[in-house]
Amino acid sequence: MKRFDYMRPLSVADAVSAYKPGAAYLGGGTNLLDLMKIGVMQPETLIDLGRIAELEAIEMLPDGGARIGALVKNSDLAYDRAFAAAFPMVAEAILAGASGQLRNAATVGGNLMQKTRCTYFQDPHSPCNRREPGTGCAAREGDNANLAVLGWSDACIATNPSDMCVPLAALGAVIEVQGPAGKRDIPIANFHFLPGDQPENETALQPGELVVAIRLPAEAAAFARNARYLKVRERTSFAFALVSVAAALQIEGGRITEARLALGAVAAKPWRVTAAEELLAGQAPTAEAFARAADALLQGARPSGENGYKIELARRAIVRALQMSAAGTPKRMPALPASSFAEEVSHV
């Protein structure tokens, strides 16, 4: 690991003014420190955000929304009773990711900022346009079975590995950031970038900006009774997704009035297409209606390598997740969160 200077500011303002090119903000460190050990990240200065009290609150807002400080630990958010009751699929997605130890250390801001797990991005000896612009993409002719089938480019076929970000995208979360130019809000749909010909530009953050909080709008809480996260993976725990789905419905009198739907592990950002959600409005919650929404969400999907299977897998997972959602949010978190093997217990 390359040597770095260490700073521990006590306020966001101090953290931002400590920033200089070559510096990195440190949250829980579960991703950053790992990448520093293998030489993929080489910050000259680490600005530790761990003592900034203003970043540590979970606030349930009077209008029904929520504001989550960037330094809140993943596990603290998932097990917060009020939060999990209002936004159950966010809690389920968090508990479907990583391990108990990692969730205790990793922060929600860090979860938003985590890097792709593409093997070649994590290997400094491989060409990778995302890590080192202009060097090429080793994944195109390499191990690409779990890489992108949507929104990829010739320059990069990496995926975003986050579980938490998938329901946040479906629910229209807003990211509050602060930097040298002040504070601003970024809708999550605009936060992560598709690769295009500049995959090194991963997020909308400007140099020196940091994530301060994640806000969930009040209308997102209206889906609490029918909201599930489904994660398909090679083993049922402690594995990244092959495909994941956040599916939330509002159902009245046997008809869907509103739907929210997003896919994970298929692109460099959580994949949401509002046209797919609009197809579900006014429909009965049937497999046929769900299949039409799946087709709309997957419009334009194409293999970037040996990963064509992910398109059919996603199609089926979307239908399954919508069925699980229609059956009702379980009263208690399933023993295996986000698993299709978990016992399905109806909320009603």
């Binding site: 420190l33 050990k37 530790d48 391990s99 130890q101 990692l102 205790n104 402690f238 969160p337």
Partner: protein, 165 residues
């Protein structure tokens, strides 16, 4: 530049001068504080062998920089037993054959102690397996590990109930 931190390690106050901010908690414990019970497996947060409690919560000590932990309360496997009396989780691992070679065991036990304190798994074997998935055992002693954690959870719950009765 050197960094001075103070830690409570297994109940003892320790003052540590770090001449290098790159030292992880794992390396601090093993190389500088002579507490080699905590094991280095993958050094990347994937195997759980380095699990310790920081302020009562289980974390991977390999992914934690010591310099960030000024003022923290650390518990390692060396701090669990009370003299010759084993912690209920340690006793249960022996009773249920929760290990073979033993290399992952300190991490397994610290993870189990953390899991039980979190209180979300109870004595449901499926929830225990899920809750312990951050700890790999290459000997595959998982059956005994799950039994040990379930049994220890029950015993510790009974003790708590008896105390509060």
């Amino acid at each position: 530049m050197s960094y001075s931190i103070s830690l409570t390690v297994n109940g003892d106050q320790r003052r540590v001068e770090l001449d290098d901010p790159r030292v992880t908690l794992l390396d601090l414990l093993r190389e500088r504080l002579d507490l080699t019970g905590t094991k280095k497996g993958c050094d990347r947060g994937q195997c759980g062998a380095c699990t310790v409690l920081v302020d009562g919560r289980r974390v991977n000590s390999c992914l934690s920089l010591a310099v960030t932990l000024d003022g923290a309360d650390i518990t390692t496997i060396e701090g669990l037993a009370n003299g010759d009396t084993l912690h209920p989780v340690q006793a249960a691992f022996i009773e249920h054959d929760g290990f073979q070679c033993g290399y992952c065991t300190p991490g397994q036990i610290m993870s189990a102690v953390g899991l039980i304190a979190e209180g979300h798994a109870g004595d449901d074997p499926e929830r225990v397996r899920e809750g312990m998935s951050g700890n790999l055992c290459r000997c595959a002693a998982y059956h005994g590990i799950t039994e040990a954690v379930v049994d220890a959870t029950r015993r510790m719950t009974e003790t708590t109930e008896r105390k509060s009765a």
